[in-house]
């Protein structure tokens, strides 16, 4: 299983699409590592600098609705993976992106908009998310305080994370 949790990158916008996460011009790469320096390069978000240390140090993304919409490119989860971001927390995901995350053994956690608002209260401070995978629970901590919330993932998604991804799961079963 992958490592989950760490410093948080807040992306305060809905409908962030996979072209913004990794632009199409890098889809000519045939290794995941080659994507590494292009994460979120075309993200349209005021004040966002994809090369800022806070982006490079992040291990968890917290964002809004319909994250990962658009293209089916798995390069989007991969560019997070090669940057050691294995968790994205959002109020909702586009289907293909969400499935791609779990298929790679990564975590796409959906919380209510109210809960996401509460996580965003930690924005601007040095926030960290701890994931308790066994108990489906996450804790956010920053100088502004500490908050623990329960999350839900499907049994299938959990099994994919435990197996290390869909190839491993399917190979043992089908």
């Amino acid at each position: 299983m992958k490592e989950f949790g760490g410093k948080v990158l807040f992306l305060d916008r809905s409908d962030i699409n996979t072209d913004e996460i990794i632009p199409a011009k890098y889809l000519t790469e045939i290794s995941k590592e080659a994507l590494k320096s292009h994460m979120l390069e075309d993200l349209k978000l005021d004040g966002f600098n994809p090369h800022a240390p806070s982006v490079r140090e992040a291990k968890v993304v917290v964002t809004r609705a319909n994250f990962g919409c658009g293209s089916s490119r798995e390069h989007a989860p991969w560019v997070f993976e090669v940057n050691d971001i294995n968790v994205v927390i959002a109020s909702s995901f586009a289907r293909i992106f969400r499935q791609n995350m779990f298929n790679c053994g990564m975590l796409a956690i959906e919380l209510t908009e109210d809960m996401i608002d509460e996580l965003f209260e930690h924005k601007g401070s040095d926030a960290t998310v701890h994931i308790d995978f066994v108990n489906n629970r996450l804790t956010i901590e920053s100088p502004k305080g500490k908050k623990t919330v329960d999350y839900m993932i499907s049994q299938f998604d959990r099994a994919l994370v435990e197996a290390g991804g869909w190839v491993e799961f399917a190979d043992s079963k089908y």
Binding site: D15, N17, D19, E20, P23, A24, K25, L27, T28, E29, I30, S31, K32, D42, K44, A65, N66, C69, G70, S71, S72, R73, E74, P77, S92, F93, A94, R95, I96, Q99, N100, N103, C104, S154, Q155, F156, A159, G165, W166, V167, A170, D171, K173, Y174
Partner: protein
């Protein structure tokens, strides 16, 4: 119990239900292109599992960057070529015979009502126009599809859209789907199949139905679906005539896939298209849609006609009807990419290629091309493109560029004027 088309397809293809709500389906067609497949192939090789479940069910095309533009894209092509050869995959469309995946695969007759189809491409939902369940997936799903012929989905939920009314002049399937997306928003159909019903849809050609279903993903939908009928049977007849006694028998079989009366829908939306204006997007999301009257006069630098959304012969004919005998504005770069070699050839034989060239368009080979800014027709920062494609995302056709999505008719008149224009104000010469 009454079932939707998706529920019937799921029922007939169910291989396993490892957990409640998770359906592992057998897949009838696994489609592959050179952008999302090479990493799957390399991973299978690295795992010592370089196998394919059934070579006949795998369809392969090089379409996103073709001819190769550099060493990296040449390598992607080579990986596909070598893989298809070593696994004896016959349906491999390489340069000279290649076209945009979602245009060429239906044209070859690979899709049937009731099929399950996956591809590492979000616009795979196009093929639901034939009454199939067709879904875009990522590379890992594709990899398992190639190896095992299965793919996992959540239990399907369905949204029903009833489209009624006579399409006004200069209003096409593209305008209808933009209007639908505006209504549904970009995530209004997440995890849902969208069924398109109603008289307006019944009267549409397969090409138009593909344009409708194609953009289901822009509302977050898993697949767009039309009920397979006479239009479907006519389109498929050259490929299925040996499988049925006559079209009547084929239709009877097709009919079995139709959603039953009394099926459960998560949402039903009624749309009346009579009196609708041509539609065009603004902003960076495909649900940001306006009537042409609100957008007229916006200057553009480039006009692009093509893609899996509007690069078919019907689209070429519509655009050419406006362009015949006219010139595009000197300030505009016009690019047209017929979506397949057949579309190109037919357009050539009908004199359409000549019309485009006389008007001042650059005619490219069939390719995904400018749609996603990967190979040709990339925008410079600050430039604006009027496009018949499917996504107006920030940077989609080049960093800092702006894309306005529209029908081929609007794109053609916009090219003539150099600014977004209303096709209703132009006469068409008409092409016999």
């Amino acid at each position: 119990m009454a079932m939707t088309l998706a529920e019937k397809v799921f029922g007939s293809h169910l291989r396993d239900e490892p957990f409640p709500g998770t359906k592992v389906l057998g897949i009838d067609v696994v489609m592959c292109h050179e952008i999302t497949t090479p990493i799957a192939i390399n991973d299978l090789v690295a795992r010592g599992k370089d196998r394919v479940f059934t070579p006949e069910k795998i369809k392969v095309v090089i379409d996103h960057v073709t001819p190769a533009k550099d060493t990296k894209t040449a390598q992607q092509g080579k990986i596909m070529r070598d893989w298809a050869r070593r696994h004896n995959i016959k349906d491999f469309f390489d340069i000279g015979r290649n076209g945009v995946c979602h245009a060429i695969f239906p044209e070859k007759g690979f899709i049937r009502p009731g099929y399950t189809v996956i591809m590492g491409d979000s616009h795979t939902c196009t093929h639901g126009a034939f009454g199939a369940f067709a879904a875009g997936v990522g590379t890992t799903d594709l990899e398992v599809g190639i190896l095992k012929g299965v793919c996992a989905f959540r239990e399907p939920k369905t949204i029903r859209i009833n489209i009624q009314g006579e399409l006004p002049e200069c209003v096409y399937a593209k305008d209808v789907i933009l209007r639908v997306i505006k209504e549904m928003t970009v995530n209004g159909a997440t995890d849902c199949v969208i069924e398109f019903h109603g008289d307006t849809v019944k009267k549409m050609s397969m090409e138009s139905r593909m344009t409708l279903c194609k953009m289901a993903i822009e509302a977050g939908g898993t697949s767009g679906v039309c009920m397979p009928d006479e239009v479907t049977a006519d389109y498929l007849w050259p490929f299925i005539s040996s499988e049925y006694r006559d079209k009547k028998e084929a239709l009877k079989e097709f009919r079995k896939w139709w959603s039953d009366e009394g099926s459960e829908y998560v949402k039903v939306i009624d749309i009346d298209v009579s009196g609708m204006e041509p539609q065009v997007t603004y902003g960076f999301k495909p649900d940001q849609v306006k009537n042409i009257s609100e957008m007229e006069g916006t200057p553009v630098d480039q006009v692009y006609i093509g893609s899996c959304t509007n690069g078919r012969i019907e689209d070429m004919r519509v655009a050419a009807a406006y362009l015949k005998g006219r010139k595009i504005a000197p300030s505009v770069r016009g690019i047209v990419s017929p979506a397949t070699p057949k579309v190109f050839r037919d357009a050539d034989e009908e004199g359409i290629i000549r019309i485009f060239m006389d008007a001042g368009f650059c005619v490219t080979n069939p390719t995904c091309g400018a749609c996603l800014g990967m190979s040709n027709g990339v925008l410079a920062p600050g430039e604006v493109c009027a496009s018949t494609t499917n996504r107006n995302f920030n940077g989609r056709m080049g960093r800092g560029g702006m894309v306005h999505l529209m029908s081929p008719a609007m794109a053609a008149v916009t090219a003539i004027e150099g600014k977004i224009s209303d096709p209703r104000k132009f006469s068409t010469e008409g092409i016999s």
